[in-house]
Amino acid sequence: MRESVPRAWREAEYRQRLVGSRCAKCSLVRYPPRIICPKCGSREHEEFQLPRVGRVLTYTVIRKGPVEFSGQEPYIVAMVELGENMRILSQLTDVSPEDVKTGMEVEAVLRKYREDSDDGVILYGIKFRPRLRRKAP
């Protein structure tokens, strides 16, 4: 399916900056933002910036992806735990499948996901890579 430009544009902020919502009543964080809280039913929410560091909860290696990802296989898709009851689905990058472990620390980076076509929209989003550790001083 040809990617609609306004469709990509209206999701871009959430996808590229990890903007979600936090319920004003029960503090439940959802990503992308919700209009009504699935836990307590409140309709009051504030914008919430998701943490950019988390752990791999589970993952898989995609060997045959949707048509839009044709030619990119194999690649790693993971569920990343960013905090209590706060998860995201994302690709892992800068790591090969055999080096991925559940529980490994990862950090968010902005990356390209795909190009719709030569003259179509280019879709960016957050991927996670193994957390870079600063050298001890």
Binding site: T58, T60, V61, I62, G65, S70, M79, L89
Partner: protein, 385 residues
């Protein structure tokens, strides 16, 4: 008036190059109508997931009604991803229960071999959120693979245990004339098959299939008058769960199945231990196991061990996936839930042939759309005559 299943029709599942979506649907429908002998249906519910993408054809309710010579009837298509069949059955059941119609035809069909694997993979992902799940490039098997990994880690399940449900399905499919794979596979073959999305192996995943299945629902009075074997529908219930998989609190339990199962058992005044046979949605072995756990025939995480130990064979209680399950009978998406109901009906009316389960009286079908997102539980009881 308690609805009953008075007749069923199935086409052989497989790569049916010579048949189209509608010809398969018509053949299953006519077979169901002929076997029920309760006259013409008063309404049609059609189950299908992907015809808009795979055949560029929608509006299937009216199309099928016309093709079976019933233009004019109320005819509606129902969609709930891979759970479409159970959902359409629920709609048909509800309408007979309400007394709106005496006799309805519920038919499900999917024709997947018209498209490439890549196109079908893409179409299957419409079962999940396109913007935040498909967007990252996951396939449907990929989502299930992430759950498989968590399930195995949480409950300490071994690889042979995860493979056992596939071996069981193939064993039972040998005697099912409608099955896509009428042959056994060994545990070694499953464990040596390549990954389709780690850690799910090729022989732990249901195939792409073409097929159609139909059931005729009617009232007990009508079935009695027709002198046909029938099965009472004790309940048909539907449950749903958080839509985006990553938002589920517990990824290793299908709460949608549990909800539907609890309600269905309450309707039927039965418990999971009353089930003589169970048809579960083993699109991937992990999904079949999660369905068994949530249905309550096993403790959480225990169904793989029980399957490996031979507890669910044709002489077991319950006997599971007695005609092959999705893995070996095949998984023509929109038809699957109706194949399951038809298979339970065959068992409960003593028409299951070589795979007949001795004294099978109560049976359940668990059909699932998405990764446990929409689940239906149907409980039937055979009426001996």
């Amino acid at each position: 008036m308690r609805p009953v299943v008075a007749g069923v029709g199935m086409t052989e599942v497989g790569e049916r190059w010579e048949e189209g979506l509608m010809s398969l649907s018509v053949k299953a429908s006519l077979a169901a109508i002929d076997s029920a002998k309760v006259g013409r249906p008063q309404a049609v519910f059609f189950s299908n997931m992907m015809s808009g993408r795979l055949q560029a054809q929608d509006h299937l309710g009216a199309f099928l009604a016309d093709l079976i010579g019933e233009a004019g009837l109320p005819a509606i298509r129902i969609e709930a991803a891979c759970g479409s069949g159970g959902a359409a059955f629920h709609a048909g059941f509800s309408s007979v229960l309400a007394g709106l119609y005496d006799t309805v035809l519920v038919v499900g069909a999917e024709k997947m071999s018209d498209c490439t694997t890549e196109e079908v993979t893409t179409a299957l992902m419409t079962a999940e959120d396109r913007e935040y799940t498909e967007f990252v490039g996951t396939s449907f098997v990929g989502l299930n693979a992430m759950v498989h990994r968590l399930y195995v880690e949480k409950y300490g399940v071994t690889e042979p245990q995860m493979a056992a449900l596939s071996v069981l399905g193939h064993e039972n499919a040998v005697n099912n004339p409608y099955a896509q794979f009428r042959r056994r596979v060994s545990l070694e073959e499953v464990l040596e098959s390549p990954y389709v999305a780690d850690p799910i192996r090729l022989l732990e995943a249901a195939p792409m299939s073409d097929g159609a299945a139909a059931v005729m629902l009617t009232t007990e009075d009508k079935a009695e008058q027709a002198h046909v074997p029938y099965a009472q529908v004790l309940s048909s219930r539907v449950g749903t769960d958080a839509f985006r998989l990553y938002e589920r609190e517990d990824l290793t339990f299908f709460s949608s199945v549990r909800r539907a199962a609890e309600e269905a058992c309450r309707d039927a005044s039965k418990t999971p231990s009353d089930m003589d046979i169970v048809e579960v949605h083993d699109a991937f072995t992990v999904v079949g196991y999660l369905a068994l756990d949530a249905l309550g025939v096993s403790d959480r995480g225990k169904s793989p061990e029980m399957t490996e130990g031979g507890r669910f064979g044709l002489t077991g209680r319950p006997a599971v996936n007695t005609m092959g399950g999705l893995k070996a009978r095949g998984h023509p998406i929109g038809a699957t839930g109706l194949y399951q109901v038809a298979e339970v009906y065959l068992q409960l009316t003593g028409k299951a042939g070589k795979n007949q389960v001795d004294r099978a009286r109560i049976g359940a079908a668990v059909n699932i759309g998405g990764v446990g997102t929409t689940s239906t539980v149907t409980i039937l009881e055979g009426v001996s005559r």
